[in-house]
Symmetry: C2
Subunit: 346 residues, 2 copies
């Protein structure tokens, strides 16, 4: 059973909780925004469902909600921030804002962040560039889940990248993708519901292709395009983990691992279109390309969708109808609410 | 039958030819370098085998070997160059050199190039960053060969990206990959030798998966990871084609199409490691990660290879033994040589 919640209600709830953890008004808004926008876009895995886990990280002392982010290096266009083990959402929002500011003057802004935490949905930060008339690019590393090509050990993260490109009348292009064939969550879901998975999603603990979801969970996710996805994930890790001096490959802790700091690293980049050409001309060209692609013969019956389009459609729908939450999720959220003397969701 | 040629001999030959086309000494060296290094790395498709095609572009007047590249926009860290329909290799080398120069002062350098041509092997330019202690990133768009996800028409290019990361004692990491599952050349080879291709490489003209190489050539290459590779290719095109104002998706001409200018666009980016942390510490960390990955249990018997490692090994071998060329290729090169009164290869 699912219940529908207006975004304002979930945002208020989320803000109330994280303010109790020590976040200021503005920080709480950013944090709640990032979760609610994920839920609106249908990316439930990065939505309010994660709130209890974030709270637990604070409670166990492996995340510092009052961390002061420090600017370690700045230049005209590039910077390194130390998130000091604060919320990835707060670090991410500040870092992307800074990248956009830098790109205003210099055409490009590039901000790397070290000692951060799980920042939720990468697209959230990439999309911040859109209003500024810029292209946003966001990278993050993540905990081990995927084998380096040719090996059988899940050392690499699924290390996602997100890119947002402004448009005129069309919906913005927002690509948000991991470097693995599928998210681990899809395999977990198949295991829970007793379903097989397609060949190519994962290998078992011996590195053999498997359709058994339970064996896959003990094994490793497969990278897209074999050595290509594996290489991309490694490069994202070298930028987010090593360029920042945050962690070596394999060292990032998953958000549910309470045994220590996550040591996640991110990269935020903004490209100022106006530095290169007239922004309206750029947007018109992108609109024309979108129209061209959407006008191509579809492979199967139905429309052709651009990256992010389904998520924009779902956002419009959920802004009207509300965001659906499972009863079990509501219960978990309410138990957090009670612990912090915040009004229950329902 | 193959004959082996010392790299110096092929370089001299290539330089002699392109100097006859109007390139100066330094430009001719860059051009020949980019081809010979591709051959050394085993990327024959971007080696001297291409020389007759480049010459033909000049002869038919669709490429201007004496083009003056113009700096249209510059900032502290970002720039736009107009290659004015000159050689992609010359434009690429200048643009990447400029990106490296900019990154020295500003932490990052980002140079986009419009109205360019096929620039050969992307890794060549990315690797230029290595000696400067920087990470190099190179993107280029290319002619239509791959379907946007969900469609059956090859509108997108295989739009490659190359990234080079400096190391200490280990061989540098050099990822050079297209966004398609395989290169079109592999399917062409299968068609010529009457072999089937694996499912997943391509679709036929009706958008149906096919193992028939001939049908695949009339159809479309498949992107890696479905919507992921398709989205990446589109983004690379928006950066190289649209941000530069060079061309819309689908408009770039392949190097063998002599009906007009290619209107290729590229992006060159250098990230100055020293701006973020101690370069030696960075390199040591990357070395440690490489050792860790190469020490993982391999999926099949044999070593685990890092991106670019096989190419470095082959380069060492070919620097000793020479570069193998087919008799047919030698013949074609010699017929160009005769036309330009240059000494034959053999």
């Amino acid at each position: 059973m699912k219940e529908l919640f207006k975004e304002e209600k979930l945002a208020r709830f989320t803000k109330d909780i994280v303010k109790k953890l020590g976040l200021g008004e503005e920080e709480a808004s950013v944090f709640s925004d990032s979760l609610i926008i994920a839920d609106l876009r249908g990316v439930a895995s990065h939505g309010v469902i994660r709130l209890p886990t974030y709270v637990e990280r604070v409670e166990t002392g492996v995340l510092n909600p009052r961390a002061e982010m420090i600017m370690e290096q700045t230049g005209n266009a590039a910077a390194l921030f130390d998130a000091n083990n604060g919320f990835g959402q707060i670090a991410g929002h500040r870092a992307m804002s800074y990248a956009i500011e830098k790109a205003r003057d210099h055409g490009i802004g590039f901000v790397a962040v070290k000692n951060s935490n799980h920042f939720g949905m990468a697209a959230y930060y990439a999309m911040m560039a859109l209003e500024a008339g810029m292209i946003g690019l966001v990278l993050t590393n993540s905990s081990p889940a995927m084998n380096p090509f040719g090996t059988i050990v899940p050392l690499l993260g699924t290390n996602p990248l997100a890119i947002a490109v402004p448009t005129g009348n069309a919906k913005p292009i927002v690509l948000d993708m991991s470097t693995s064939v599928v998210a681990r969550g899809k395999i977990r879901h198949a295991a829970l519901t007793g379903k097989d998975i397609p060949v190519g999603w994962a290998v078992d603990a011996e590195g053999k292709p498997t359709t058994d979801a339970k064996k896959a969970l003990k094994g490793s996710l497969e990278p897209i395009g074999g050595p290509k996805g594996s290489g991309l994930s490694l490069i994202i890790d070298l930028l987010c983990g090593v360029l920042t001096g945050s962690s070596l490959t394999g060292e990032v802790k998953t958000v549910t691992d309470m045994s220590g700091c996550a040591r996640t690293g991110h990269v935020f980049c903004a490209i100022n279109i106006a530095h290169f050409r007239n922004v309206e001309a750029f947007k018109n060209d992108v609109d024309a390309i979108i129209a061209m692609i959407k006008g191509l013969p579809a492979r199967t019956a139905g429309a052709v969708y651009m990256p992010g389009e389904i998520e924009f459609n779902l956002t419009a729908q959920r802004k009207q109808e509300g965001i659906p939450l499972d009863e079990a999720v509501i219960e978990t959220l309410n138990s957090v609410a009670e612990r912090y003397s915040v009004a229950r969701l329902s």
